[in-house]
Symmetry: D3
Subunit: 247 residues, 6 copies
Amino acid sequence: MLLHLSTWAEIESFLARSKTVVIPIGSNEQHGPTGLLGTDWLCPEIIAHEAQKDGDILVGPTFNIGMAQHHLDFPGTIALRPSTFMLAIGDWCRSLAHAGFTKLYFLNGHGGNVATIEAAFSELYAEASYAGRDRGFACKLKNWWDLAGVTALANQQFPVGHGSHATPSEIAVTQWAYPDSIKSANYAPQIAPTGPIREAHDFRARYADGRMGSDPGLATPEKGGELVKLAARSLLEDVAAFGAETR
Amino acid sequence: MLLHLSTWAEIESFLARSKTVVIPIGSNEQHGPTGLLGTDWLCPEIIAHEAQKDGDILVGPTFNIGMAQHHLDFPGTIALRPSTFMLAIGDWCRSLAHAGFTKLYFLNGHGGNVATIEAAFSELYAEASYAGRDRGFACKLKNWWDLAGVTALANQQFPVGHGSHATPSEIAVTQWAYPDSIKSANYAPQIAPTGPIREAHDFRARYADGRMGSDPGLATPEKGGELVKLAARSLLEDVAAFGAETR
Amino acid sequence: MLLHLSTWAEIESFLARSKTVVIPIGSNEQHGPTGLLGTDWLCPEIIAHEAQKDGDILVGPTFNIGMAQHHLDFPGTIALRPSTFMLAIGDWCRSLAHAGFTKLYFLNGHGGNVATIEAAFSELYAEASYAGRDRGFACKLKNWWDLAGVTALANQQFPVGHGSHATPSEIAVTQWAYPDSIKSANYAPQIAPTGPIREAHDFRARYADGRMGSDPGLATPEKGGELVKLAARSLLEDVAAFGAETR
Amino acid sequence: MLLHLSTWAEIESFLARSKTVVIPIGSNEQHGPTGLLGTDWLCPEIIAHEAQKDGDILVGPTFNIGMAQHHLDFPGTIALRPSTFMLAIGDWCRSLAHAGFTKLYFLNGHGGNVATIEAAFSELYAEASYAGRDRGFACKLKNWWDLAGVTALANQQFPVGHGSHATPSEIAVTQWAYPDSIKSANYAPQIAPTGPIREAHDFRARYADGRMGSDPGLATPEKGGELVKLAARSLLEDVAAFGAETR
Amino acid sequence: MLLHLSTWAEIESFLARSKTVVIPIGSNEQHGPTGLLGTDWLCPEIIAHEAQKDGDILVGPTFNIGMAQHHLDFPGTIALRPSTFMLAIGDWCRSLAHAGFTKLYFLNGHGGNVATIEAAFSELYAEASYAGRDRGFACKLKNWWDLAGVTALANQQFPVGHGSHATPSEIAVTQWAYPDSIKSANYAPQIAPTGPIREAHDFRARYADGRMGSDPGLATPEKGGELVKLAARSLLEDVAAFGAETR
Amino acid sequence: MLLHLSTWAEIESFLARSKTVVIPIGSNEQHGPTGLLGTDWLCPEIIAHEAQKDGDILVGPTFNIGMAQHHLDFPGTIALRPSTFMLAIGDWCRSLAHAGFTKLYFLNGHGGNVATIEAAFSELYAEASYAGRDRGFACKLKNWWDLAGVTALANQQFPVGHGSHATPSEIAVTQWAYPDSIKSANYAPQIAPTGPIREAHDFRARYADGRMGSDPGLATPEKGGELVKLAARSLLEDVAAFGAETR
């Protein structure tokens, strides 16, 4: 069930049977010469939308801009400062909690988001902690590649050249979902270098075409489909477990 | 051309021929008993995506959460505080300007966003004004219903019962684009009341089913299609004019 | 009754008969070659102070600095960033509400303030909306030229050359109240150009002497007096209506 | 010369002969059973306006709301949080400095403002310090009672019962300037108690009628006039010295 | 009793007999050619740690970074912006108050901290004041040199050349506590100049070696020991008085 | 070399041979029935202070309060909100970078700090990224248990009952450094439970005595000494590698 294609009355009904909502969250940022700028928000959106076809979960609108400051020297990247990102996550959570949701599940598509999202959760919890009261809701962050079995499958699909940015697995997922937007390029080197992540100038100097450690040329729509199907199944299980969790 | 389905290299190429980017911006909020929660971000997205099929414009990812605090007592609404909204708009603009865009065109789908978006633009301009320098980019806000001819068409389609929230015109647009998500309900009264907008408690007390002044039962997918086609054409003209503007 | 010339005990007594307070709000910014820098805060102050002579309303101190970033390249302008302006409006409102006022009426003298003031109101309402409680007070923004009959009178007085900044109507109001501070200059062109409002550099480049679309040479103290008398009467009616309003 | 009754061109001319501007700053807060709510912003305004009749100084609009949280339980008080106050002072200073003023002189009327104003100055300086550059302007805070000779005169006028809030000296100043707004009351006790200043609840519990250590019944308009005349003369000297100061 | 060398259970026990906690607070900033960078946080730490050996007080961890923007052009200085400093003080206080402490005593070692700490306290009180409730705790700021008898002793020890920054008294205190870190230098001039404090560039231009008005060559460990012993005794008395204070 | 026991001139000399500074960073929070409240800031301080005896590194003052909101229901805990923590880290880094340090190495003692510190680094980098310039310095976060060999040694010392909060390894480190502050208690259960971390109420409900997964009874000062010696050696190597790193 997609929240944005529902009415408020339908959400009211859903809340009578579940207090859990799934929010795809990612980033809009360069993904090398062939990766789509939307890759990191499209992947969790694709997986969550696929999952809700087979299970009674509620999927909210996609939080499509994240912590991508290091990619800003590649055009098309849109980044929130961590402080802005935290405030926005806070307002999303407060809104959903006000409606009665008690389990807020963020399915994440961007490794660079993790620290800031966790900090945002702590900021929300801290409000309650200083005030000496229950927060009333719990937040959970799950990267889609950390869903049960997914990284194992990706490792099997891409034993070399997976890397950490513009990876063949994430590109494969978007190829499966957007077959009309498959791009091609020559990669030089075939497998991109790795190293630290700092400001945008430093990033572009280190990673000339934007990739980190990856060979996106390994991606195929078929492999993407396998990843999506597995991730969607695992997501339903993980969401159910989170929803069932009590103190 | 959709930014999120492009690579950074494609955006670099686009920048060689245009410095204008279109951002659909809206809100995820209750729209009465039959309106989709996503109505206000879906409408500008639908129109902008339609327009880019016929013209060489670049459409960015949709800014899908806005100033909707007054709707929070209806579940499914997600709202940013104005202060958060302004910070996020600022980061979007700074990111796009850093890439080289000099004309940032926001196609808006939510009247409640207008004041905060304008304040956000002023905040951005103020940075340059205090520093005594050019800002380097210009921002423009356009509500989709203010595109040339659109309100006239809506008035002709819905001479009574248009209202100001959960209007038949916006619902028609989403019906055209999402025919599988057309909802129905009995409206009582057929035309909703009107009045001021304050906090969420007050809003729900005044507007029992969420509508303001409207009769959404008048919406049809066909009328929505007419609106989209006209708005898309007008958008291309308006974007071209903005792009051509010099001091 | 002027709040700042009253004691707290007198305000306590006033609150026993009315919960409404009127705040003149404006901006201190250039107003062309002959307009006073204080024009935008003096006008609502003049009108409100005049009105309280004839009706039992309470007029607070004047909020004299607003959203004027675009005028900063003309000396004497003092501007608040929108974010600062919103925080300050918030603290004014919280203070007055804490005292027991439930209707906060802002009589505004600067068009550039409107978006930010509305955003500030929404920020205040949002606090209550997220918390699921009544705000306890209502805010209203009224531009003095939107008081009943005022624009009609100004149009009659100044059928051409009214414009939108450094208008003859606002300058006439200050001429009536501060006859010792009437300035003169040659205007070239007689009617100033119009266009968009962006950062200060851009503004000064577009509007060489600071006016927008206006011919301030049409102003006279007599016309100002007519405007003040009418606006003051309309203000009393509008404040009474707001005070009487219930949900 | 009053900034708000001048045009931008007149300020431009003034800047050719002086880079100093005087800002009266105070607070709108309860001042006991007979003190005006505006006392703390009226006093520096009265003195500065008087001074500019006799000397070529520029007096800006009055910053009329300050750090008055402790008075909030007395109606009519309007307070800025220190954080808001600092941001607003910052924007005033940035605006005036942008125009070319290099000496920003704040004539203060409220002891409770001192810490926050000093913190605001440090915040402004810190921006330049981190950036490794000159700030380009200097800020000075002067309480009107610290102007040369003023406290000595007040001690002579009011050898007992001066106290620290709702003092006879400040009330005398407003009596001189606003003779139509002189109030009277019985004071019990004649001299109010003293003690610490904390939150508003605590303040009202300690200081039943709002005074601290004072007997405002000693105030007369004549004594107020003496104070104003002396303070105005001293202000001119102090402003001249500040303006002449070089590193 | 040192909080950081205690367990939470020991603090729980302490709270059963006292609700007061002492926080040494200072700054890490240049102290002239021979003063330790830590001087301003070491002094209150030394005194408070000494005092807790002789009396049943609880001393928290040292707040070691403060308002030192003006010293930033001397390496080793670490400064918080006033706004950051206030937020951090706020979180310390909220944490300690949440645990049950009602008297928060800050023993300060840096004059430049005073305004910001006082503003931070007001910010905390303001939260309660706007909300119309008791704050539940009281804050007190005491400079260690303002403890009973301390300045008198310092004046006796250093009748000339005490000055206001890198003073012989504070340097003597650190010499007594850290005899292995006593430094020496030639001072030119022997007594440093005095003047205003503004941004870091201005400060370094005025005060070439970082001192203000002082001759640190007068410091000896013995004098430092005398100061510490006296200050520690006075601290115990002052803390006891604060703890005993009721409204 | 300890920064706080040095003069600014000594730091200036150090900068001529190294641009790297080490900042111990931790948290002041409950550590179970026997762990010191200061454990998480004492451990990195102990290790860094030990290391600087054997190598020419500069160790700054300890950042002793961190992200500990979940521990607030145990008295003695002092927590910064993530947003405050980020601002403070930012000011530390800006101060040190202004002095000329280009490698800022944070030796961390609290797992709960990691996300916020990383977010703080990204916030700092983002400033430069939006502005299109080099940041000029690099930040590195290292948990002391992630120094080469340390976790392996801890696993060998404590094959069972290490856990994740109030671990025997961290308690052993403080026992070695503060032998007079070794505490004892009966643990029930001997090994504490594990689970998620949310707000303080939830935390105390889940973890009755504050431990997570650990048996602190296994700690001995001797094991602590082994850990410190190894960690100090590894720290010197890691700092040297970071200092030598170029793009």
